[in-house]
Symmetry: C2
Subunit: 338 residues, 2 copies
């Protein structure tokens, strides 16, 4: 019998909670008998959603919590004060070994703070980075770091590269993932102080497949599987990806609906267009892990639908089965002297 | 009679030189009697292109140069060594007051180095930023800085904001332009060290319309007219804009051509789509000025077509007529004591 993976899911987080969150959990346990989900949040609201479906009931559990952390709250304060919130209770369960992972579509800031303050870092990890997946022409890339810890040091970036590489290999199944550092030119002498100092360190790493500098222009083209940068730049990349994508698609849509002729054409192209655009959507791969924590903490989009929640739950399962944290620890441990 | 504007145009720079460059010049002088263009580069090649068109010949002059600076060359070295290149000769003409502006689609690095080393900074300007225009939903925004000087200080960013504001107001005609600083959240306490230090300085500026932090996600939506950031981040934004745009459009195209039905639809939507996408194209506004130099230095895309060259020449004309450099100097000058 396969080992069970137990994931705590924040039923109150995100724009579509609890409806889409609960549905994602239902679909996941139906497909995976070796997955169990704990939903934290308002019991009544969760029960009401669950009552809509038939599913293996022994695989879903509810832990009632009274409070909800709002996106606008100061993260650290919220984590410290709202001890009976769906997020804090979930993170504590991971901390205490009662669950393997915690997943939330709620406040990113609170989740990052909670991951560090409540769950804690693996031994040897200096800083846990948030590593979302971004779509590329033919798949996906892991962008590490997009977290809240800006002004990183070179040693942090080296750890991001290593953890990202382990994650992509073991969870996404990409062998020998290509690791690139975000830079403003391809040459080694280019870049800001941080990149210039980090570059030779990455070059010297024997356990990653470092391909050198990656220009932002080439990221969507899929030149690297792991894209390393400090969090400010990572955040800009992540947000701009979404922004340019959304604006461009709205411009395309506007074009399609601008005349009678184009409207007719739009009807004809719609199914095919939908299909190709679906490929350019990272949510099918799951949420963004906060790498290097004791246990797994995953952030899904605030707008996460049942599909993204479903994929994230499966991602947690793979993470556990592949012993990713064990591999991270082995990578960072100083070998003991004989 | 209107004052003449004299622009030196690098006939050798960019992927489409000299053909598209020369055509852009021809079209511009035909439309603007008060514009004169000096083409620097291989005389024979330029003459061959010019011979294809009829135009007011007294408005176009050729200055023959032997050398061409290649994109791959180390910028500072190239500027120092290739004294008879189309770029160095052009920049020197601006320096010596023989021309108002220099425009090139050639090596960005060499142009930035040449702008600073040969043309020089206006009094009071600490660092000349490169400020390309990026498309937004309903127009365009000036992204300042995307240059080669990374690791900027807060005082630099304040100057970028002021110069950007003056440029957008006077050259693009946007009254009271909204100035935002790129940040990873809307709150004042967010950001890296540089942004946190710069924010209150911008807030205290009385001569700009500072709207606070701008998240990368909102830039394409057009929330700000002047988007301030240091050059590493600016470069990432600029390149990612191009990258996401190109990849997404290739995905859309792939969708349109994926079936017989969609191909038929594509024929119907093509004209309308082309029209709306044209709006999402900053090249119609001209090239990227290197702000704060004595004279004007403008970089167009390496792939610049005649249309972009044409628009850039008109932009140089407006720059001169509006006395932009005079306004920048007034903004930075310390008032003398009575």
């Amino acid at each position: 019998m396969e080992e069970m993976t137990k994931v705590v899911l924040d039923a109150m987080g995100g724009d579509n909670a609890p409806g889409e969150i609960v549905l994602g959990a239902v679909n996941a346990v139906k497909d995976r008998p070796e997955l169990s989900v704990v939903l934290t949040g308002q019991e009544d609201a969760i029960k009401k959603e669950l009552s809509k479906y038939t599913y293996p009931e022994e695989q879903i559990q509810i832990v009632h919590t009274e409070e909800v952390i709002e996106t606008a709250e100061p993260p650290v304060l919220a984590i410290r004060r709202k001890r009976d919130s769906s997020m804090v209770v979930g993170l504590r369960m991971v901390k205490e070994g009662e669950a393997d992972a915690f997943v939330s579509a709620g406040s990113t800031g609170a989740l990052l703070a909670g991951g560090q303050l409540l769950v804690g870092r693996l031994k040897g990890v200096e800083r846990p980075p948030l590593a979302p997946l971004i779509p590329t022409k033919n798949g996906v890339a892991l962008l590490v770091d997009c977290g809240a810890n800006v002004d990183a040091r070179p040693s942090h970036l080296v750890q991001f590269a290593k953890m990202g590489s382990i994650y992509v290999k073991n969870v996404l199944g990409i062998e020998n993932p290509r690791v690139g550092i975000v830079n403003i030119g391809a040459e080694e002498e280019k870049g800001n102080q941080l990149v210039k100092e980090t570059f030779p360190l990455l070059k010297a790493c024997e356990d990653i497949n470092f391909i050198g500098s990656v220009e932002a222009r080439d990221i969507p083209d899929g030149v690297a599987d792991v894209v390393v940068c400090e969090a400010f730049v990572g955040n800009v990349i992540l947000k701009l990806y979404e922004g340019v994508g959304a604006t461009l698609l709205s411009v395309v849509k506007q074009g399609l609906l601008s005349s009678t002729r184009s409207k007719l054409g739009a009807l004809l192209v719609k199914p095919a267009l939908k299909k190709t655009l679906k490929k350019f959507d990272a949510s099918q791969y799951g949420g963004a892990p906060l790498l290097g924590c004791k246990g797994l903490v995953v952030k899904t989009h605030g707008s996460a639908t049942a599909k993204e929640v479903y994929n994230t739950l499966l991602q947690c399962k793979t993470f556990k089965e592949q012993n990713v944290n064990q591999k991270i620890m082995e990578c960072f441990s100083v070998p003991e002297q004989e």
